[in-house]
Subunit: 255 residues, 2 copies
């Protein structure tokens, strides 16, 4: 029990065990859809019947099924009205270096994204738009945080995530053949005028501060999404979704 609470709340415990928690049926289903390695499925009162297809699929995938009491779920969970199923999953293999990635793909780089919903949404858009990986840099929320996992809707298992502490090192590590396009709220060329279809990195900064000027030397081209009306900016997850799907659009035009 203490271990499960720690896996939900402590990034270091997740790292050292290379395990993390999926809360509720949707993240578990998303994981099974992507052939993720689920170690144990915990099933609360009534859930065996209510979620029998899920329990069957998890069992067939090799997961141990354990019953758990309602009060125990309440004590472990991070949500207000916890659902009666959760799972311990094995962290997907991480890509060690951008050199291992398809050099003709689109890489999404995020810098110090703090909000778990934003990082989860970016993972989801990156996966669904066919990006090759997400590189999360700087002091960002842990990608295996339960809220990130939930809002990624399974994408945490569907797209490689590279974590690099230092954004300078991250941007320097990219192949010189890759153009680095940084997203700015107020300056830059139109995002849709750039060749986003492949061999490039699209870079998104922190929610409050954007991309720090320290990184100027490592941005090849500033890009912006032109806004109309009195809107001052888009939320970073929306901006990343718009850019990721423009990249997908361009990719299908090319082929």
């Amino acid at each position: 029990m203490r271990r499960l609470r720690a896996l939900l709340r402590e990034p270091e415990v997740r790292r050292s065990e290379r395990r993390f928690i999926l809360e509720g049926p949707r993240p578990i289903m998303g994981a099974l859809d992507r052939a993720a390695d689920i170690e144990t499925l915990f099933v609360g009162p009534g859930a065996t019947d209510a979620f029998s297809p899920l329990v069957d699929r998890a069992r067939k995938s090799g997961a141990a099924i354990e019953r758990i009491k309602g009060e125990a779920i309440e004590r472990i969970s991070t949500t207000r009205s916890p659902q009666p199923v959760f799972a311990v999953a094995v962290m997907p293999e991480t890509v060690e270096s951008p050199a291992d990635l398809d050099p003709s793909g689109t890489l999404v780089v995020t810098i110090a994204i703090n909000d778990p919903g934003n990082l989860g949404t970016i993972l989801r858009s990156a996966e669904a738009s066919g990006a090759i990986a997400v590189m999360s840099c700087g002091s960002a929320v842990d990608p295996f945080n339960p809220k990130v996992v939930r809002s990624s809707a399974g994408a945490i298992f569907g797209i490689p995530v590279l974590e690099v502490d230092d954004p300078v090192r991250a941007l320097k590590s990219l192949s010189p053949n890759w153009q680095r396009f940084g997203a700015y709220a107020d300056a830059g060329v139109r995002y849709d005028s750039l060749p986003l279809a492949g061999g490039c990195a699209v870079i998104f900064g922190n929610e409050a501060h954007g991309i720090s000027s320290d990184l100027d030397p490592f941005i090849d081209q500033r890009m912006t999404i032109p806004l109309l009306g009195l809107a001052e900016s888009l939320n970073v997850a929306m901006a990343a979704s718009v850019v990721c799907f423009e990249a997908a659009r361009q990719r299908t035009l090319k082929s």
Copy 2:
């Protein structure tokens, strides 16, 4: 005090008074940026100094400034750690009929959107992409709900919102010159192959159920955002953002 609590929590009270609440400095700033009518700004302990530019702008706009105690804010607020400024705003004038809208514009129609963050994000994307209005149909979250207002980032004042109870009546009410493009997760022509730049309605359904088949006769063309990998769907707010900015992109190509 009771009135303020009711304005935050009861849609009927908001309707009858034609007033609603802005919680925290960002929605208030967004309202002032759009020349919204702020009736009263409530300022908690320490906030006059901390938010003096905001208080000045509100005063100049004609708002009454009232001091309020910290405990009172705690009791009124809907957020866990309430910020020490909030305001009573006058509801913007609503557009009565789609006939009053620019017939060459892009109208965003939402059906039974339940999640306040989703509706707020759709308002924000619709405004920022230059759509002419948002028509919210069916049994949806109130657009003046404080969470919608917050996630709209001011857009609730920047784009007209039409509310229509019956989605059939809503779709029937649109000009016959307007093509009605419905968004579906799994079927339809590619969204970017459609003429989205003007004289059309882009229609998004409920989070769980999409667009009901009852509405089939009122959809002229099904559209979809092609998804890659194992992603099954996008969140409705992301899908609407992607489609709204594709419409904006097409509009600038035309001009």
